[in-house]
Symmetry: D2
Subunit: 167 residues, 4 copies
């Protein structure tokens, strides 16, 4: 856990989900994070779950850390308040999951899968929402830790609060 | 494709597989790669599929590129002939899949999953062996490209030769 | 320039300077940055200029972003409020200079030299203080851009305000 | 030292030197490395010292490892036989110096300066040629280790052979 301040909650999800409810969920989760005065972390791009979660958090007055793959602000979500410009391409996925105190996986894509796998490998608390049962089973088959899944953002956030951050 | 010389074939798999046949397959694939005078690329560690594939290739007289996560040769497979010391931890997974002209996924683990996902995302030719049907389905569900699967090393290598490298 | 919020000002300097006045200067600069409501960025470690600048900013009520080389909070300055855990070792030096809107070089060391060189290469605004004339000349000889040097923190910050950020 | 095979000798230098003799020296050094059956490592681009050293080594029948910053072979020197595609931009400078058993600095530029500084920081054997006395003094002032300088490629290679690799 980040010893020095506000919890940093990563929300990882596809840049181009084909399901509008994934984006809606990301936006709701972003707003919940902001209302708790936690920091949202995303991959920073103006696309998909990254942008939707950032919008939710920013409109609720929260801080949004965007960890960008490129070497400039190009393509950054308008809702990012703390841009991290890495210049290391997809290698920034590692930085996303190491920097986040908790990782929420919202929807699934190839980049998201790489982040979820690394997060579990690095012993992060990883929670899932808006993923299919078979997608969840894939990750569950690769770890002996129980991977929590939630349909509702409320329950997901409550779980983080009580079971992960122990607030 | 690597325009300047021998094909570089990445073999990605778990560092601690719980199935001996995964290691056997990795070793066989390594030897096949060497016999074709291609370069084997692995994550370089003295563990699991990385080590087994490297052993197979080295004992068949081939070159073995090991892309290590640490900042020294510590923990390197004894069979690596071309060590790449990255110092960037799991971020080296990106380098593995970008450097390989073809990526063979042999068995499954968390690090392997992150590499397979990144490889498909970066439009690499990715082939699977020694993975369960449900694990293969996971990746297939995330891409419209057909992901080839092979039970036998012979068939896998023949496919690379004829369909991917067009030799 | 960071389009989305507070300027991020990087302060780069040695982890073990042999001159107490370098640390004093770093602390003063940190406090100046905080008083202007800018974000301080450092390499995040509890050592040397990183720690001193962070202390100055934190005690003045400011935000401190620490971009750490390791894969945990181990060794982090107590004054960091926004930890970025990169896990990529010295490769994080690139992230430091790309994320900072302005780079202040305070004192000189080997890591600092690598950051100053990359910052100038990537066309960042780089300002120097507490470096010898010959050290400044080294960097000046490698670029046609005029590299500003300041003895006093006040003048350095005023220059950033008026000439770089155009506030 | 690379325990598993041929020594890997890094040659670092500017991509656009303004002095033809720097390129000539890089080419001669590359050929010397190849004649000793060592592997040359460079930043891999078709530019400046990287390209000249690679040409020298390749024409003498040697192996050339090119550690590229981009995510494809684009811009690679025609003389690279072992391309490493990192996708991490200037962060690949760390990989260059960690992978090389010995680092030769031939000429000076901003990227080169970042590599020389990191190499000394990471306790690599670093040797200099075609740098001015004041440039050498800059690095010498930052370390207590004696930094060897050579006018002639012959003497430089002999030093590596006898004093560094202890062959």
């Amino acid at each position: 856990m980040n010893k020095s301040g506000k919890p940093i909650i990563g929300v990882m999800g596809p840049g181009n989900p084909n399901d509008r409810t994934v984006l809606d969920q990301a936006e709701i989760i972003g707003s919940h994070i902001a209302k708790r005065n936690w920091i949202l972390l995303t991959g920073g791009r103006k696309a998909g779950v990254m942008d939707a979660a950032s919008k939710g958090a920013a409109e609720a007055g929260g801080e949004v850390m965007g960890v960008l793959p490129g070497d400039s602000h190009l393509g950054m979500s308008d809702h990012v308040s703390i841009p991290i410009i890495t210049g290391v391409g997809s290698a920034r996925n590692l930085i996303n999951i190491l920097t986040a105190d908790v990782v929420i996986v919202c929807g699934m894509g190839l980049g998201t899968a790489s982040e979820a796998a690394l997060a579990i490998k690095h012993k992060k608390s990883v929670l899932f929402t808006k993923v299919s049962k078979s997608h969840l089973n894939f990750f569950q088959s690769l770890t002996s830790s129980k991977l929590p899944f939630f349909d509702e953002a409320d329950a997901l956030l409550a779980f983080i609060e009580k079971e992960v951050l122990l607030l």
